[in-house]
Amino acid sequence: MTLIATESLTKTYGGRVTALADLTVAVEPGIIGLVGANGAGKSTLIKILLGLLAPTSGRVSVLGLDPTSDPAAVRARVGYMPEHDALPPDLSAAELVTHLGRMSGLPRTVARERASEALRHVGLYEERYRPVGGYSTGMKQRVKLAQALVHDPDLLLLDEPTNGLDPAGRDAMLALVHRIGTEFGISVLVCSHLLGEVERICDTLVAIDGGRLLRADRIAAMTSATDVLAVEVSEGTEELATRLAALALPVTRDGRMLLVPLVDEGTYDQILGAVAELDLPLHRLDQRRHRVAELFAAREPSHV
């Protein structure tokens, strides 16, 4: 089943500003990263997916439904976490999420139960009875995620979920999103302008720029051919480099590390053998993915 499909989707505001231009993309269920610079059209796309904006032309389907003709059916199965501050400060998280659960059609008692469940899943326990106004940014982001989760959607649309979080908070939020996508069995579309962030948790990556599709593919397909091994030894880096070169391995230096393209399992043995022979203290040896950013780097300068 196709999760989200768009066909020549175009959105212009007032006939002048083009937010989306002829966007055709189809993605499968899983965790999808939607990346693009600010103003690339990410939020516009999300609003079209929710049926809040009508596209100027083109077609769109979400979970097999058309949000332009049947927005209520789409929204019943989708959870949305907006980018900006969206919480009334004088309500407690428990009250707010319960109320919003009822707005999604949950019966009263079910809404209360599922609200505390959702808050527990995002990591809010006793705090949930305090007014939201006193929460930290990280807690507020969690409440926004909980309200998107309360009615058990089939798809979550998260607009910049790591916005305003410190590095530890980012990692926690990304881990949570990853858990929702894998353990909970809910598909997630994560919007971000930080490629390095979403590539860690996504199965599929959709990159847009200026409203146009840059690339959409599964992460595995983007990076499989480019895996490298990073080797770091506490001393004797030069000797090792020479030795590895002698073994016909194309070594490159990267700071204190040596990068060796991973051809097959034999590469590990060759490197370990060389290190052992030279009797060097091995600091680390790990497989490193090429960052997806490098895949886009070649295309992007044309827009500057």
């Binding site: 609003k47 929710l50 809040l52 904006l53 209520a72 059916a73 929204r75 019943a76 989708v78 959870g79 949305y80 907006p82 900006h84 501050d85 969206a86 919480l87 009334p88 400060p89 004088d90 009250e95 109320h99 919003l100 009822r102 707005m103 999604s104 059609g105 949950l106 019966p107 009263r108 079910v110 599922r114 469940e117 899943h121 309200q147 009615h151 058990d152 929702i180 353990e183 909970f184 069995g185």
Partner: protein
């Protein structure tokens, strides 16, 4: 979760397969939530002060009127007159309640959370409007019920007296509903324009009070037609004019005087009131159409 051992079991995420209620139930939930909000229920103690102060005032006035009537045996204030007399309080009540209902949501940015749910955008506005109308009607109607009960228990004409009282009460309640509909429509429209509660409250009071001098000026113009139509310029006097025409001596008992000289323009007043409410509701819906798309 009440394990005696104190161990917390992570039962993992549970999918929900139970019923999902339809539009009518969601609308009802939002309506009740709004009605509770107006009276500060489920909110902080601070939010309860003003609404319940107003409720206390109108109840005390109603009780006082009833007590006086039972003592001296004369009708001090008819049911419909009660609504008129309390109109100032209603203005301030609207000025506090309407921003509480809509400006707060605009300010906190919570609207995207509503509009990303199945609820149609018009339903949000209409549910809030009904909440405010109901609250105002209760505010004006409940004290009338107090007056009715007082009168019914002290009547010396048996069931016939109770029946007469009831026939007086019902138009009074309808008149209270007219107040509620007109004031709620205008108040909510003004409040929906700004996220700042103080501005919204000021705007509402301004709309109701600043139009009063216009009525004053128009009613001393040297034209009888203008004088008779003057009361349409302000919402309060417009409602009064409609009441004057429709209720007659229930609002202005013979011999008391003080009625509005609206001549034969009664139906025009009624039509204007309907038009005013329709315009306000239309503008309110248009406003939320725009807000939702943001």
């Amino acid at each position: 979760m009440s394990e005696p051992t104190g161990v917390i079991h992570d039962i993992g995420y549970q999918r929900y397969t139970g019923p999902r209620l339809g539009r009518r139930h969601v609308f009802g939930a939002l309506y009740l939530h709004g009605l509770r909000t107006v009276f500060g229920l489920g909110r902080s103690a601070k939010a309860k002060i003003f609404p319940w102060l107003v409720v206390a005032i109108v109840t005390v006035v109603a009780a006082g009127v009833t007590a006086v009537r039972s003592q001296i045996g004369q009708v001090v204030m008819t049911y419909a007159q009660f609504a008129d007399a309390m109109s100032w309080l209603v203005i301030f009540f609207v000025a506090v309640a309407a921003p509480e209902l809509v400006s707060r949501d605009l300010r906190s940015g919570v609207l995207p959370l509503y509009f990303s749910r199945p609820l149609p955008r018009g339903d949000y506005a209409v549910a809030k409007l009904f909440s405010l109308m109901t609250a105002l009607w209760l505010l004006l109607g409940a004290p009338q019920l107090v007056m009715f009960l007082g009168a019914a228990f002290t009547t010396d004409r048996g069931m016939g007296g109770v029946w007469d009282e009831l026939l007086d009460l019902l138009p009074g309640l309808l008149y209270a509903a007219l107040w509620a509909v007109v004031f709620a429509s205008i108040g909510l429209l003004v409040a929906s324009l700004t996220g700042k509660r103080a501005f919204a409250a000021g705007g509402i009071v301004a709309v109701f009070l600043m139009t009063a001098p216009v009525v004053g000026v128009l009613s001393i113009m040297p034209s009888r037609t203008v004088n008779e139509l003057a009361f349409m310029a302000s919402p309060s006097t417009l409602v009064g004019g409609v009441g004057n025409w429709a209720l007659g001596d229930l609002l202005v008992p013979e011999g008391q005087g003080g009625g509005m000289p609206i001549g034969d323009f009664g139906p025009v007043y009624a039509a204007t009131a309907v038009l005013l409410v329709a315009t306000c509701v239309t503008l309110l819906l248009l406003r939320y159409r725009k807000v939702a798309a943001r």
